[in-house]
C-alpha cells in the first residue's frame, strides 16, 4: 500500500474522532435551538464554565478567592479537601441546573416574543458574563483536568496497524473514549426525548409553543429543562476538551468550531449535528493534510466555514434541517 494513502487513512481516522468532539458541542446548540428557537452562543462558554467549576470543586478551591482576598485582605485559596471526580461531576451538574434556572428566570423569560437576533445577542451577553464570572470564581490560569479518563497513544491499534500496513497509527485513547461517550450520550438523549414524559413535552414545545401550552405543558419548566440538558452536554464537552488540552479560555472557542457543523447539519437536527461534525472533522484534517502545506498551513481556521458556506449555497437549510417554507 502506498505510504501517502496510509497517512491519509490515519488522518481520516483522527478527523472522525475530532468530528465527534465537534458534534458534542454542536449537540448543545441544537437542543436549545429546537426547543426555544434561541441560538445559544454561550454554549462554548458554558463548557468552559462547567470544566472550571469541576476542577474547582475537585480541588476544593474557594470560589471568588481572588476577589475576597483583594477586598478583605485575606489569603484564602483552598478549603483543603479533595473531592473525587464522580461526586464533583454531580455537584457541577447541580451548578449547571442552577445556572439554567437563573438564565431562564432572569433573562429568557423577559425576552419571550423578541426577534431571534435579540435573543442571540442576549446569549452573547451571557457568554461575556459567564466568562467573567468563571474567571472571577476560579481564577484565569490554565488548569489541568483529570477525572481518570485514559490518555495517550492506544498501543493495541498501533500494533495492529503496524502489522497490517507496516506503519502504526497514532490514535489517542481519549479520542476513543470520547467517541464512545458521545455515542452513549446521543443514545441517552434520543431515549430521553422518545420515551419519557418530559422528553415528549420537550419535543412538543419544539414543534409548536402555543399548541404545547394549550395541552398544559409548562413552557417555563421545559425551557429550564432544556437549558439544563444543554448544560449537561456542555459539561461532557468541557470534560473531554478540558482533559485533552487543559481548562483555559480557548475552550470557549470550540463554540466557533461547532457553528459550521451546525450549518452543515442544519440547526434543528440531532443526527445532522453528528454527521456534520464527522464531515467537518474529516474534511478539515484531510484538507490540511493535502492542501495545507501548499498555502501556508493553519487552514483549519477557516476551511470548515468555507465548506459549510459553499454547501449552504446549494442547500440553504443544511443537510437534515427542516425545509424552510416562506409565505407572505
Amino acid at each position: 500500500m502506498p505510504e501517502q494513502l496510509v497517512f491519509a487513512m490515519e488522518v481520516v481516522l483522527n478527523g472522525l474522532m475530532a468530528g465527534v468532539l465537534y458534534a458534542l458541542v454542536a449537540l448543545g446548540f441544537v437542543l436549545i435551538y429546537k426547543a426555544s428557537g434561541i441560538f445559544n452562543y454561550a454554549q462554548g462558554v458554558m463548557a468552559l464554565f462547567a470544566a472550571m467549576t469541576l476542577v474547582g470543586i475537585m480541588q476544593g478551591q474557594v470560589p471568588f478567592a481572588h476577589l475576597i482576598n483583594a477586598t478583605f485582605g485575606l489569603h484564602v485559596t483552598h478549603f483543603g479537601w479533595q473531592i473525587p471526580g464522580f461526586i464533583a461531576i454531580l455537584l457541577t451538574m447541580a451548578v449547571m441546573v442552577l445556572l439554567a434556572w437563573l438564565v431562564q428566570t432572569f433573562i429568557m423569560r423577559h425576552l419571550i416574543g423578541q426577534e431571534p437576533i435579540i435573543l442571540f445577542m442576549a446569549t452573547i451577553g451571557l457568554a461575556y458574563f459567564l466568562e467573567g464570572v468563571a474567571d472571577l470564581m476560579w481564577g484565569s490560569e490554565i488548569k489541568t483536568l483529570d477525572v481518570g479518563l485514559p490518555q495517550g497513544i492506544n498501543l493495541w491499534i498501533d500494533e495492529r496497524t503496524f502489522n497490517i500496513f507496516g506503519y502504526g497509527f497514532f490514535i489517542d485513547n481519549l479520542d476513543i473514549v470520547a467517541t464512545i461517550i458521545a455515542a452513549l450520550l446521543v443514545a441517552a438523549l434520543v431515549a430521553f426525548s422518545q420515551y419519557t414524559k418530559q422528553g415528549r413535552a420537550m419535543r412538543a414545545v419544539a414543534d409548536d409553543h402555543q399548541a404545547a401550552l394549550s395541552v398544559g405543558i409548562s413552557l417555563n419548566f421545559i425551557w429550564v429543562l432544556v437549558w439544563s440538558v444543554a448544560g449537561f452536554v456542555a459539561l461532557v464537552a468541557g470534560i473531554m476538551w478540558g482533559t485533552k488540552s487543559g481548562v483555559q479560555f480557548s475552550l470557549s472557542l470550540i463554540a466557533l468550531k461547532a457553528l459550521p457543523v451546525l450549518m452543515l447539519g442544519g440547526f434543528t437536527s440531532i443526527p445532522g449535528a453528528i454527521v456534520g461534525g464527522l464531515i467537518i472533522g474529516v474534511g478539515e484534517k484531510l484538507f490540511e493534510f493535502a492542501i495545507g502545506p501548499l498555502v501556508g498551513g493553519a487552514t483549519e481556521n477557516w476551511f470548515a466555514y468555507v465548506l459549510a458556506l459553499i454547501f449552504l449555497v446549494f442547500r440553504p437549510q443544511g443537510l437534515f434541517g427542516e425545509k424552510i417554507i416562506e409565505r407572505v
Binding site: 423577559h110 425576552l111 437576533i117 445577542m121 458574563f129 493553519a298 481556521n301 477557516w302 440553504p316 443544511g318
Partner: protein, 358 residues
C-alpha cells in the same frame, strides 16, 4: 417645550425634506458640529485623543456601516472584523506603494476595495438567510484574517508579519506615524465620520434605503412589489463594507499605527461592533453614535473607577469588566430591546410636552 414643531413653517419642498425637520433639533445639530470642529481640536491632548475620541470616531464609522447592513437591510453579519482588516491592509498597501498621494484618497480607495470584497462575501446572502447567513459571514472573518496572516505580499514581506503605518500627510499636515499631532488625527477622523453619517443618513431615507428596509421587513413581499433583492442586498453589503473599510483603514493608520491582524481584527472586533449597533439601536444613525460612545467609554470608566480610584488589581478589573459588559448587554436587551436610540426618542417625546403631562 423643546422639540416643538409649532411656529416652524415650511414654505418649500427643500425645507420640508431636510434631515432635521424640527428647529430645536437642527440648532442642536449645529451646536454639536461647532463644538466638534471648532472647539475640541484646540483643547485636545494625546490622552483624550487616544483613549476616547479616536476610538469613538472610528468605531462610530464602523457602527454606521454595520447598521446599514444589519439595522436597515436585516442581513446579520459577523464579518466586520475581517472587513476592517481588508480596509487596513488595502490602506497599508496603497500607503507604501504610492507615498506621495494624499491620505484622503488612500482611505477612500481602501473603502472602495473593502466594498468590492464585501459584495463578494455578500453573494451567499441571496440564498442564505437569518442565522445561517450570520454564521456564513464568519467564513469571511476567518478566511480574511488567515489570508492576511499567511500571504506575505499583504504585509510587504516584513519579518514580524505586522504592518506599520509609515508617516504620511495630507495637505502638508502629518497625520500618521508617531509624530502626528493629536488634533490632526482627530480632525481627519472627524471629517470622515461626519461625511459617513451624512451619506448614510441620506442613503437610508432615499429610494435605496427604502428598498433595504423593504427587504429587511419581509424579503418575499418586497420582491413581489418590485424590489430587486439582488440589487438591494448587494448594495447594502457594498455600502456597509465601504464604511467598515474606511474605519478599518483609520483604525490601523491613525489609531494603532502597527497592527497584528489576528489581534486587532479578530472575531472579538466583529462582536464589539455588533454590540454597538444593537445597544445603540438597530436602524438608527444616532444609535450608531450612541452605541460606539457607550462601549468605548465603559471600559475607560471602569478602569478609572476600579483600578485607579478603588485600587483593585488589574486582572480583577478586567474580569469585572467582562461581567459588567455582559450584564449591561442583557439588562439593555431586557429593558429596551430597541437600544439607546429608542430611549432618546422617548426622551424627545417627553421633552416636547414638558413641563405638562399631556
Amino acid at each position: 417645550m423643546f422639540y416643538r414643531e409649532a411656529g416652524d413653517f415650511k414654505t418649500s419642498y427643500v425645507d420640508d425634506s431636510q434631515t432635521f425637520p424640527i428647529k430645536f433639533d437642527r440648532y442642536r445639530y449645529y451646536v454639536v458640529l461647532v463644538v466638534a470642529f471648532g472647539i475640541i481640536p484646540f483643547i485636545i491632548n494625546d490622552y483624550w485623543a487616544n483613549a476616547i475620541l479616536l476610538p469613538f470616531l472610528i468605531y462610530a464609522i464602523a457602527a454606521i456601516g454595520l447598521n446599514v447592513l444589519v439595522g436597515y437591510c436585516g442581513q446579520v453579519s459577523l464579518g466586520t472584523g475581517g472587513f476592517m482588516a481588508v480596509g487596513a491592509y488595502a490602506c497599508y498597501k496603497l500607503m507604501t506603494a504610492f507615498p506621495e498621494v494624499s491620505m484622503f484618497i488612500h482611505v477612500i480607495l481602501a473603502g472602495g476595495i473593502t466594498a468590492a470584497v464585501g459584495v463578494l462575501f455578500g453573494l451567499p446572502s441571496l440564498r442564505i438567510k437569518g442565522f445561517y447567513l450570520a454564521v456564513a459571514t464568519l467564513a469571511a472573518q476567518f478566511f480574511l484574517v488567515w489570508l492576511f496572516n499567511r500571504v506575505p505580499w499583504f504585509y510587504n514581506y516584513s519579518a514580524s508579519g505586522q504592518i506599520n503605518a509609515p508617516e504620511r500627510d495630507t495637505f502638508g499636515i502629518l497625520i500618521t506615524g508617531p509624530n502626528a499631532s493629536a488634533w490632526a488625527t482627530y480632525m481627519f477622523c472627524l471629517i470622515f465620520l461626519t461625511l459617513s453619517a451624512i451619506i448614510a443618513r441620506n442613503l437610508t431615507r432615499g429610494t435605496i434605503g427604502r428598498s433595504w428596509m423593504a427587504i429587511r421587513d419581509m424579503d418575499i413581499a418586497a420582491e413581489i412589489i418590485g424590489v430587486n433583492p439582488l440589487k438591494a442586498k448587494l448594495s447594502a453589503f457594498a455600502v456597509s463594507s465601504f464604511f467598515v473599510g474606511i474605519s478599518g483603514a483609520l483604525f490601523f493608520a491613525l489609531y494603532l499605527g502597527a497592527v497584528e491582524v489576528g489581534e486587532a481584527f479578530g472575531i472579538q472586533k466583529s462582536f464589539l461592533v455588533l454590540f454597538m449597533v444593537i445597544i445603540g439601536g438597530l436602524g438608527s444613525i444616532f444609535g450608531s453614535f450612541a452605541g460606539a460612545a457607550f462601549l468605548v467609554l465603559l471600559p475607560v470608566v471602569l478602569k478609572v473607577v476600579g483600578a485607579d480610584m478603588l485600587g483593585w488589581p488589574t486582572d480583577i478589573v478586567a474580569h469585572l469588566n467582562l461581567v459588567i459588559v455582559g450584564a449591561l448587554i442583557i439588562i439593555f436587551l431586557v429593558l429596551e430591546p430597541h437600544g439607546l436610540a429608542q430611549l432618546w426618542r422617548v426622551a424627545k417625546e417627553k421633552l416636547r410636552l414638558w413641563p405638562f403631562p399631556h
